[in-house]
């Protein structure tokens, strides 16, 4: 019976095409929009995680409390022992990497050794020289090199492309890092600029330099010390996984603090954070989820509204058919059920087509991207200039479910008018029509 009715739907284009088109367009818009929003947002999360927050972060609490001041004296000692402890006390899918975040003046001398230009910079020290360093892959440094090469010897530096332009620094230029050592003394150390990097994030291109971790430990007198341990989980995992991993590490840390490494200061108190605890990311994730849900909700509501009206119009058009079916002895419930199934079928077909259309558009944005560098230039956001969509199963589900729901709900709401009418009323309209 149901296949018989479907045959009728497909033959009657006025019944099929409009709701099908509404669902297809609605689902396509939701899939494309959710894909784009996910891409932009997850791009920002990934960028923040890769650069300085990690998915997880182990940091000394006194350092974290004043990290805007970059207090190197509150860095965490016992690097090797900490590495062993982290490996032992966290799940094997977490990859831990040490970092030193620092701030200093960069002084560019002229031929006579006098200052030609100078500016404060934000620096990050990380493993740049190990063969197969995961950091180079994570920050895509090889791909981001505009000129030069990655550091291979001691005291070599990578500099943001825009920063180099502002300072008028060319490859091979020696610059002086003037900052504060671990124990509060003034340090000045020379570095050779061997590579210019375009991170693709305006805020970083204008202010950032990268040096090797061992060089930073030497420059700032931080032997066996780092400011951060950043932990990276597979990117497919949800935020809940970060929180769970953080809780697990924090509970183990309580035991470790009772028997700390001998190089720790008395008030050293390492804590584990997830990315959601840093840089207001948790609140941003919540806001993003609300915005995304609202967008999906609004589209679903609009689809229901349009399909409801289409259903009512189609229902009026079909009063004759309904009256006839009731006259032949089809029960009201069965009639409504078959209309619901019609809606379901149209919803499924429309959703499939919508997924293909929206998915293709999102895939194009994922592969090619959209350059919004001019828009982001002055925003200071840690976001890639080329924003990309992200096609995920979740994105498709967020399109398909409302598409099917809207189609069925729209049909059923419209059908309720039929349900309320008596057979005789429908029959009279059938005769009149």
């Amino acid at each position: 019976m149901i296949f018989f009715l479907f045959r009728g739907i497909f033959r009657d284009k006025s019944r099929f095409l409009f709701p099908f088109s509404v669902v297809s367009i609605g689902v396509a818009l939701v899939v494309a929009l959710v894909g784009f929003m996910e891409g932009v947002f997850m791009g920002m999360i990934d960028m923040t995680a890769n650069l300085n927050a990690g998915h997880l972060r182990l940091v000394n609490k006194p350092f974290y409390d004043e990290e805007h001041l970059y207090p190197l004296d509150r860095a965490l000692a016992a690097q090797k022992e900490t590495k062993r402890w982290l490996k032992k006390n966290s799940t094997p899918d977490i990859e831990w990497t040490p970092r030193i975040r620092w701030r200093a003046l960069i002084d560019v001398p002229d031929a006579n050794g006098d200052t030609r230009s100078q500016t404060p910079v934000v620096g990050m020290a990380l493993d740049l020289k190990s063969p197969n360093s995961s950091e180079i892959r994570r920050l895509q440094l090889a791909e981001s090199l505009v000129k030069g090469q990655l550091p291979q010897d001691s005291n070599e530096m990578l500099m943001g492309n825009s920063l180099a332009k502002d300072l008028d620094v060319a490859l091979g230029q020696s610059v002086t890092v003037i900052g504060q050592s671990f124990d509060g003394g003034l340090v000045a150390d020379n570095y050779l600029v061997v590579g210019l990097i375009r991170f693709g994030v305006t805020a970083m291109d204008k202010k950032m330099v990268l040096i090797d971790l061992a060089d930073a430990q030497s420059t700032f007198y931080m032997d066996d010390m780092v400011t951060d341990w950043l932990g990276y989980l597979p990117s497919s995992l949800s935020f809940d996984h970060y929180v769970k991993a953080k809780k697990n590490i924090n509970s183990n840390l309580n035991t470790w603090r009772e028997n700390p490494p001998k190089d720790w200061a008395k008030d050293d108190q390492p804590i584990a954070l997830s990315i959601l605890d840093q840089q207001n990311m948790g609140s941003m994730v919540k806001t993003f989820t609300v915005i995304k849900s609202s967008v999906v909700g609004i589209f679903t509501f609009l689809m229901i509204l349009v399909l409801w009206n289409a259903g009512v119009l189609s229902g009026i058009h079909r009063y004759g058919e309904m009256g006839l079916r009731l006259a032949f002895g089809e029960s009201h419930w069965k009639l409504i059920l078959t209309l619901g199934i019609e809606g379901l079928l149209i919803g499924i077909l429309g959703s499939i087509v919508g997924c293909v259309l929206g998915g293709t558009f999102a895939w194009y944005l994922q592969e090619v991207g959209l350059n919004m560098g001019d828009t982001f230039a002055k925003s200071g956001l840690m976001i890639n200039d080329v924003v990309r969509a992200q096609l995920t199963l979740g994105g498709f589900i967020q399109g398909i479910v409302p598409g099917i729901f809207a189609s069925v709900a729209g049909t059923l709401v419209a059908s309720s008018t039929i349900f309320k009418r008596s057979e005789a009323n429908l029959f009279r309209e059938l005769e009149a029509g």
Partner: protein, 227 residues
């Protein structure tokens, strides 16, 4: 043996039209036997269609009762009423009311599918009745490709295919020319003999009255003659 198929006892039907009450039927009493071939005759507004709707279980009387064999229709709930129509009643309409998107074959198949038959099981039965109404060369055509007379033949086949006990035909010849009307009446008369289903017309067409074996005259909702 009691041969009564339908008993109408003291039935009245009042419609509310705005603030006014319109009485369509007043205290109707009659019986319809199995296999009968009869018509309700009267001018527009005399209550012909209303009495067909009440007998067909599409509407309920304001007063009085209608019995199908010994079962009181007003005691049935909506589902039982739907089942009553599905099993026992065939409808034929003035405007044919065929499904425009389905072929001749599919239109006739529809009531059987509704009764729970499978398409492959129903095929032979449908083809038989199509042959009987003389449309075997029109099986795949849609209603829009048929003449009025052919459409009414499809409607007759559709009403008969589930082997009902009663066929209610509301002005079945009103949209047909004389020649087609006579052919349709001949056909219905033949099928009435063959299938033993009672056929009840509502009509003001004199040609119909020449064919039926019983004619009930209605005027202003009252029976004025029964011959």
């Amino acid at each position: 043996m009691n041969n009564n198929l339908i008993s109408v006892k003291g039935v009245s039907k009042v419609f509310k039209v705005g603030e006014e009450n319109f009485t369509a039927l007043r205290d109707i009493n009659l019986e319809i036997d199995s296999g009968s071939f009869m018509s309700f005759v009267g001018p527009s507004g005399s209550g012909k269609t209303t009495i067909l709707n009440l007998i067909g279980g599409l509407d309920v009387p304001t007063a009085g009762n209608i019995f199908f064999k010994s079962t009181k229709l007003s005691a049935m709930n909506r589902n039982q009423m739907a089942q009553y129509r599905r099993k026992n009643i065939g409808f034929i309409f003035q405007t044919y009311n065929l499904f425009p998107v389905y072929s001749v074959y599919e239109n006739i198949l529809f009531p059987l599918l509704l009764s729970g038959s499978k398409e492959k099981d129903a095929r032979e039965r449908v083809m038989n009745i199509i042959n009987k109404v003389g449309l075997s060369d029109q099986v795949k055509k849609r209603p829009s490709q048929l003449s009025g007379g052919q459409c009414q033949r499809v409607a007759i086949a559709r009403a008969l295919v589930k082997d009902p006990l009663l066929i209610l035909a509301d002005e079945p010849t009103a949209n047909l020319d004389s020649k087609n009307s006579l052919q349709i009446l001949e056909l219905m008369s033949e099928l009435n003999q063959q299938y033993k289903a009672a056929v009840v017309f509502s009509t003001h067409d004199e040609k119909v009255t020449r064919y039926v074996r019983r004619e009930v005259g209605l005027e202003d909702g009252k029976i004025i003659s029964d011959k």
